[in-house]
Amino acid sequence: MRLMRASPGSLTASCHPVLISNTKAGIGGACCFIKFRTLKGVHMFTYIFPLVYLGTVPIAVLIWGYWTLTKEGNSGEE
């Protein structure tokens, strides 16, 4: 817990060389992971975009139709 709260500078100054090396590798790994996720995210968007588009437009119009009928039903009751 203490190490997690410390700044990277204090970490390197106060830790064993093995721990330093592991930490660097960990940070590097995290960066790689984030980069990978970002790239994956961009790709995901490219692949998911057509599906979202294909689904959203017709479903939104069907929901609008449902809502219109509900509104007409309510006004008919009044």
Partner: protein, 539 residues
């Protein structure tokens, strides 16, 4: 004579026999023009989808998908097919209670105007008449491709296949044959498409192969195989194209005579509404399987030319013989069903809207029984004229025919919606709205076709035509007042629609919409489960 030739000729004969049988139940003009106004959901869905899907979908759009634009075509459909819902809510369900035989008659009565009815009638006569010519030529080319019968004979056989039963049975035969054809090409066609997918290893394998191959991967992305030499140059071009054409075709589906007139035959506004919701899902699902199957055929043969023959090639080379025959019959059925609807619309408008307008008298169809015979004669004359034009027409005439969809979207779009939704639109607004929207499209499309001057995709002639039409409606309605009969007609129509939709009817209709939304979601989920992992694995 090959098996394909025999099957095509037998199918033609079968449709004619069905039409002849149906003609026996035609008793009066309501039967002949609007199938007795008694059609249920299945028949309305059948005729809606069959009239919409023609060889354009099964060949033209399939070819575009094969060329690497499956997603683009499908995404255009995501917007355009909402036209079924928008159209039926704002226009179609009112038609089902309008108690008229044709849409031009509805416009005439709604605005208490002979000239508006005449204008709409002439638009149908010329616009759909030329469209009929183009479609007949298209189907005859398929007949030639499949059977080897060419020239005048191919045109004559095609013409006879849809004219005989349409003339004899009118809408009563058309709605039944449309539904049979719809079932053939949706159920049979889907089975045939699935056989193509499974012959290439199944859905997962096909999606993985298309995603992994650098040659096909681009065409499998949402924007298609864009490039400087391709039809669409960049992803932005694809997006603009998708949105613009989606909106244009949404109007076509919502108000074009060959779609909206189907609601005249519905038993009630609730039936019209349910049919609209079902048609939306059916066409979307059918397009999904059709377009991805067309693109997947690249795996087996990436060199089919012209690409619009992709399914004919698949029927002859990939599918089992039985399914190949079903697909070929379905392909022909898709074309014939559109042609029979077009012919009936042109014949009906000629006798019921144009002749009375020209003679300044009553329509012969107003006499319930005698009208049927006269309508048959009128339709036969129109049909013969279409046959002659089809035989002698130059390619330019056919191009003009293909303007029909754009013309009706711009000319009728705003007027149709305003006629049911606004009490402020006047006869003058409606007349000039219809006239100016149509003229704008004809000028812009002709400039493109004959002079080579075209506007950017975003300013498609239909978009410009809709804006012009709306402007004319506003100016026309601001400079005149709605008359008493116009307001009375609209109020009565709205009350009729309201009264015919009871609480229970409403709940059932809502269930149709809900189930349609859930099915659409499941369809998208199904594609997503196959598509996203395949693309991610090979990114």
């Amino acid at each position: 004579m090959s098996t394909f030739t025999v099957v095509v000729l037998v199918a033609f004969l079968l449709f004619t026999v069905i039409g002849v049988v149906m003609s026996r139940s035609v008793k009066d003009t309501a039967d002949y023009f609007v199938a007795g106004r008694n059609a249920g959901v299945l028949l309305i869905v059948g005729t809606l989808v069959a009239s919409y899907l023609s060889t354009v979908a099964m060949m033209g759009e399939a070819g575009f998908a094969y060329d690497g634009f499956a997603w683009v075509t499908l995404l255009i459909g995501a917007i355009s097919q909402t036209g079924y819902m928008v159209g039926v809510l704002l226009f179609g369900r009112y038609l089902s209670e309008a108690d008229t035989l044709t849409i031009p008659e509805y416009f005439g009565r709604r605005f208490n105007s002979r000239r508006l009815r005449g204008l709409a009638g002439i638009s149908v006569l010329i616009g759909i008449g030329l469209y009929l010519v183009a479609v007949t030529r298209g189907i005859s080319l398929v007949v030639t491709e499949l059977t080897g019968i060419s020239g005048v004979w191919a045109v004559a056989i095609t013409w006879a296949a849809f004219t005989l039963f349409t003339v004899l049975s009118g809408s009563k035969g058309v709605i039944v044959t449309d539904t049979i054809m719809f079932l053939i090409f949706t159920i049979g066609g889907t089975a045939a498409f699935l056989s193509v997918i499974y012959s290439q290893g199944g859905f997962r394998e096909v999606f993985s192969t298309l995603a992994a191959n650098p040659e096909w991967r681009d065409g499998f992305l949402w924007h298609g195989a864009v490039g400087p030499d391709a039809v669409l140059a960049s992803p932005l071009d694809s997006l603009v194209y998708i949105v613009t054409f989606g909106v244009v075709w949404m109007f076509v589906i919502a108000v074009s005579p060959w779609q909206a007139s189907r609601y005249l035959m519905a038993k009630s506004p609730a039936v019209a509404l349910r049919a609209g919701a079902v048609a939306l899902v059916v066409v979307l699902a059918f397009y999904t399987i059709l377009l991805f199957t067309a693109y997947s055929i690249n795996i087996t043969n990436p060199a089919i030319t012209p690409s619009e023959n992709v399914f004919i090639w698949a029927a002859e080379n990939i599918m089992p013989l039985g399914l190949g025959l079903v697909l070929v019959v379905g392909l022909m059925a898709a074309g014939l069903s559109s042609a029979s609807t077009f012919l009936s619309l042109v014949g009906f408008s000629a006798i019921h809207d144009v002749v009375p307008w020209v003679r300044k008298g009553a329509s012969p169809a107003d006499s319930p029984e005698g009208g049927v015979q006269q309508a048959r004669i009128a339709m036969l004359i129109v049909g013969l004229a279409a046959l002659v034009i089809t035989v002698v027409a130059s390619p330019k005439v056919l191009d003009i025919g293909y303007m029909a969809a754009a013309f009706f979207a711009a000319s009728w779009g705003c007027v149709a919606f305003a006629s049911t939704q606004s009490a402020r639109i006047t006869e003058r607004g409606a007349f000039y709205g219809m006239l100016c929207g149509g003229v704008a499209v004809l000028i812009l499309r002709s400039l493109d076709l004959f002079v080579g001057v075209s506007l950017p995709v975003m300013l498609d002639p239909v978009i410009v035509g809709l804006i012009v039409s709306l402007g004319a409606i506003i100016v026309g309605s601001m400079t005149s007042q709605p008359t008493e009969p116009e307001i009375r007609y609209l109020t009565a129509l709205k009350k009729k629609v309201e009264r015919s939709t009871g609480k229970r009817e409403l709940v059932v209709s809502q269930r149709y919409l809900m189930v349609s939304a859930v099915l659409t979601f499941l369809l998208i989920l199904g594609i997503g489960v196959l598509y996203v992992p395949a693309m991610m694995r090979t990114a």
